[in-house]
Amino acid sequence: MRLESAELVELLAQRYVVGTQRGHARRRFETLLEQRSDVRRAVSRWEERLTPLAWSLDPVEPSDLLWQRIARELDLGRPASQRRRDSGAGVWRGAAAASALLAVFMAGGWWMAERRPPEIVQNTVIERIPEQVAVALVVSDAGDPLWLTRIGRDSGELAVRVVGDVASQPANDYQLWALTDAGVPVSLGLLPQSGSVTIALDSAAKAALERSSTLAVSLEPPGGSPQPVPTGPVLFTAALLAS
């Protein structure tokens, strides 16, 4: 989508935040949100302007069960040191979590993109890798699967297969990162835009995966980020789950 006019950006941001932009137009705009800071800023401004309308609605008390569900989901009953980060019930559960948390990015996460490089703008935290094999499914904002990754802990290999409609980026490469619990990204390699690849992980990547529960995909110059951190926008994240 060509979107050079500031007025048009403003108008589309308006529609996006108010909610009257739906369907494909909304999804196309979300792609722009991932790529352009001016679009993100316009959306943030409208979110801030209109939040009082939502905040001022008469409160509705949730049922007592809601807190119990949240506490159970986050394992809040245990001391922090013993708390699991997620139950890790399977790869599709991870996909759902990634999809849900995309909202973080789409909603108020812009500051993360603009505050610091690398642009880690989404975050999904799942369990460490206790098993021999861990998998992660990278999904689009619409919930469609894009890449399926499989990491063999013992083999030290990362196998990636395109499983959906990955947008062709002839002038760029998609790069896969492990996000450590400390929030530090470590490159795992470049992702294929079609077909599949197997990547031998280096020692830094293996070490990062021991401390990571989330993968991220950024869009980088050909050959990958020139720096040890993402230099392009982080487009997707995916939970790393025991298989």
Binding site: E47, R49, P52, A54, W55, L57, A80, M106, A107
Partner: protein, 194 residues
């Protein structure tokens, strides 16, 4: 950030910011306090849009889990905690409406309320005022746009109705609704930025 946006939760803005950050760092006590402070507000937003308590609770659950998992990265210089949480809730609710449809009769549900907002039931009526928690500035600005514009913006923003649904409910052409919302928001923007 607009001054008006900062005002609306000024009474507890700093508290919310801090609770969100602490929650993100794994402070379960702060997280419970955050839950108590915002869950009813988020429920109001989700329930208004979805008209289904279970779905609304699912959305609020996802929002608060996101707060726990991502709150450590929160930066109040970029966004208010309330804006951050409300936005997640609204977008997730819109997503659910898109995927599963709406559990409400959009033609009639709340019609009396909105007709009152628009002043159609009583020509002398000035329109339903915004709740007192809404910042004075935003309330003033809403007073400066037409009832039609204000009503349509609220139907879209707080109830999640599409242009077509608003047109059906108000029995007006979709082009008119689109125009009301666009002009209303433009005036609102100019007003709050004064």
């Amino acid at each position: 950030m607009d001054a008006v946006a900062r005002e609306h939760v000024a009474t507890n803005e700093a508290d919310l910011d801090e609770l969100l950050r602490k929650s993100g760092r794994g402070d379960a006590r702060a997280f419970r306090q955050l839950y108590d402070a915002v869950a009813p507000r988020l429920m109001a937003v989700a329930f208004r849009m979805l008209n289904d308590r279970q779905q609304a609770e699912d959305v609020v659950q996802e929002t608060l889990i996101a707060a726990w998992r991502s709150g450590a990265e929160y930066d109040s210089r970029r966004s208010q905690a309330a804006t951050w949480l409300i936005s997640i809730t609204r977008y997730r609710a819109l997503d659910l409406i898109r995927k599963h449809g709406r559990q409400r009769d959009i033609l009639h549900d709340g019609q009396q309320d909105i007709r009152r907002v628009l002043g159609h039931d009583d020509p002398e009526q000035e329109g339903e005022p915004l709740a007192p928690e809404v910042s004075d500035r935003l309330q003033t600005c809403f007073g400066e746009i037409s009832r039609d514009q204000a009503g349509c913006i609220q139907l879209a923003y707080t109830e999640g109705l599409t242009l077509q649904e608003i047109a059906l409910r108000l029995e007006r052409p979709i082009g008119t609704i689109k125009s009301w919302i666009r002009r209303g928001l433009q005036k609102l923007r100019e007003c709050v930025e004064l």
